[in-house]
């Protein structure tokens, strides 16, 4: 499917975005760097046993480069980042990059699972609302969309904990996988690897842990998808080519899915990009709520422990994910829109 002109177009999109992505990431780095160094209280002092001398503190400060001026520290840090060195965590004394890469897959798996849920739930609701437009069913879809849009992931998470963790305990309410299980994994992409290894017992255990946090993250996005897609579908249903398709003998379902859906998806797609970054941002508190061992949970610990290098590393990684998601959406839009592709 990838014709020559399409790859050229995609390359143009990537090159066009690189400059702005770099500026955005640089801006994020500067802000985080400055903000966390205004923190009162010396992070290093907390690591030393009581009774440590001033000299001990000064030695550790020098070790982490905290005795230099903020611009100097920034240049040193940036120089390291460019070479793939994000520094060393103060609280665990491990390389920041290792820590981040160790947790990132868990967050990515959770986010992507949530995205899949959101697309399925939102898509089904939009299609149902369109199929039964003008009836009570559409009214019910509208009410569900309204509630889904108004209530954020954090509250959905709590509601699910009560419903499916306590009242009717069918899912796990904390962790990523049952601790008693023997784990054969060599990567951190547990879900992916459990499928590759055909270990569906582990796969199921992972899924029952992920389901509630993912659903909590998915609901606001599902509501947005449902609302936008339904609106877009209903507009498309009046267009001439859809009406023409009806005269060809197609039923309502086939007209909606076969003729209207693809064209209605395009305007929804660009908005899903931004909303998906919001979803990923939501993992921070949702991981905390469900004690899920991902990047966001580690980020909160890093802030509480004043682990400056780790905080910087995590924020930069999140910013990188967000900008890459937006880039991917742009590229997807180009692939799906024949007008852009053959322009």
């Amino acid at each position: 499917m990838l014709s020559g002109s399409l790859s050229v177009l995609l390359l143009r999109i990537v090159l066009g975005r690189l400059a702005t992505m770099a500026i955005t990431l640089f801006g994020v780095a500067v802000i985080v760097f400055v903000v966390i160094r205004v923190v009162p209280g010396n992070p290093v002092a907390m690591m030393l046993p009581p009774g440590a001398t001033e000299a001990d503190i000064a030695r550790l400060n020098a070790l982490y480069g905290l005795d230099k001026s903020i611009p100097e520290q920034f240049v040193i840090w940036l120089g390291g980042v460019v070479q793939g060195d994000f520094g060393t965590s103060i609280s665990t004394r491990q390389p920041v990059l290792d820590l981040v890469l160790g947790r990132l897959p868990a967050t990515l798996e959770l986010s992507i699972f949530a995205l899949v849920l959101a697309v399925i739930i939102g898509g089904v609701m939009a299609l149902t609302g369109t199929r039964f437009r003008g009836t009570r069913t559409e009214g019910a879809v509208d009410v569900a969309n309204g509630v889904g849009l108004s209530v954020p992931d954090f509250l959905w998470g709590l509601v699910f904990i009560l419903l499916f963790g306590v009242l009717w305990p069918i899912f796990h309410i904390s962790g990523r996988i049952s601790p008693a299980l023997d784990l054969p994994f060599v990567t951190q992409f547990y879900v992916f690897e459990s499928i590759v290894r055909l270990r569906f017992d582990l796969w199921w255990d992972l899924l029952t842990h992920m389901f509630m946090p993912a659903l909590a993250l998915a609901i606001p996005l599902a509501a947005i998808i449902s609302q936008l897609l339904k609106q877009s579908l209903k507009e498309t249903m009046h267009l001439d080519y859809v009406v023409l398709a009806r005269t060809k003998g197609y039923g309502e379902n086939r007209v909606i899915v076969g003729e209207a859906l693809r064209n209605a998806v395009l305007p929804t797609l660009t908005l899903i990009g931004v909303q998906f970054t919001f979803l990923i941002g939501g993992t921070v508190i949702i991981e905390r709520l469900f004690s899920y061992e991902g990047l966001g949970n580690m980020a909160i610990d890093a802030v509480i422990n004043r682990d400056l290098p780790l905080i910087q590393g995590i924020v930069i990684v999140f910013a990188l994910i967000f900008t890459v998601v937006n880039l991917i959406v742009d590229m997807l839009y180009a692939v799906l829109n024949p007008r852009l592709r053959h322009a």
Partner: protein, 283 residues
């Protein structure tokens, strides 16, 4: 077609009354909490810990919605929590709105370098995970009501800025703005007198939405123990406690959660209802 519009209006009105009613009730409770609350929200009584709500066996009179693990009255804490929640909602909501809208108006109407700088800042802000940013700011500013409000404003001004900028761009392209320019009015006067009134309905809907978000942010910060003090009666703090003792005393989690849920839902539905109420097409 006519009856369809009447049905839509009925639905809008029902939404406005229900959500407005809940918010009004909450405001009254918040104002009169010291007189209405049956107990002292801070009073601990380890002999009365984890008492169930009034309809269950083992309930004690006076503790309507039960007590938490330190024997504090859940109902009284919810009522006092409403004060903090609404204070944050009002101050943070309005402050965020003022700053974000002003920047958005300037960017959308003035364009040029002002727009370029503001838009770039928005891009950078959008690359932060908001909850992490809030936690980071509280860590820097220290806990307390002021810090929460400042953190919300710093994080969420972009929401107003983006929407108002887009609206201002649309309005600027219209003929009435061109004729005002021809008439020799200053740019500031056009911006405030011509553009702003047309953007206002959007801003009003966003403000109530933002108030709901402010309540949530406060709850989230309380939940990660970074809001005010661990002792203060905040909904988020109560939820955090309830989450821990969920298997022993579900009511510690359920009642503040329901309150928070209804409040957030009401803020956003009230804003949507107001927007539709003032929408000339639907009226």
């Amino acid at each position: 077609m006519l009856d369809g519009r009447a049905a839509v209006r009925r639905r809008i009105n029902a939404r406005l009354w229900l959500s407005g009613g809940w918010l009004a009730l909450l405001a009254i409770v918040a104002l009169l909490a010291p007189w209405l609350a049956p107990k002292d929200p801070l009073a601990q009584d380890l002999f009365a810990a984890r008492l169930p709500p009034f309809w269950m066996a083992g309930a004690e009179p006076g503790f309507w919605l039960g007590t938490d693990s330190l024997g504090r009255d859940v109902l009284s804490r919810i009522m006092h929590g409403a004060r903090i929640a609404l204070a944050v909602a009002l101050v943070a909501g309005i402050a965020t709105c003022l700053i974000g809208s002003a920047l958005g108006l300037v960017a959308g109407f003035m364009r040029g370098w002002a727009d370029r700088i503001i838009s770039r800042l928005v891009d950078i802000w959008m690359a932060f995970p908001p909850v992490l940013f809030a936690i980071l700011l509280i860590a820097v500013l220290g806990t307390g009501l002021h810090s929460i409000i400042i953190a919300i404003v710093v994080i969420d001004w972009t929401r107003f800025c983006r929407v108002v900028r887009a609206e201002a761009l649309n309005q600027s392209a219209m003929d009435y703005v061109a004729s005002a320019k021809v008439a020799g009015r200053t740019r500031l006067s056009i911006m405030v007198r011509e553009i702003l009134p047309n953007v206002l309905p959007t801003i009003v809907a966003l403000v109530t939405l933002e108030m709901g978000i402010a309540v949530i942010v406060e709850a989230i910060l309380s939940f990660v123990n970074l809001s005010i003090s661990t002792d203060a009666p905040t909904w988020g703090g109560m939820i955090a406690e309830g989450r821990i003792s969920i298997h022993q005393a579900w009511w510690v989690l359920v009642f503040p959660l329901v309150t928070l849920f209804l409040t957030v839902l009401s803020f956003s539905q009230f804003g949507e209802g107001l927007k539709d109420h003032f929408d000339p097409v639907l009226r």
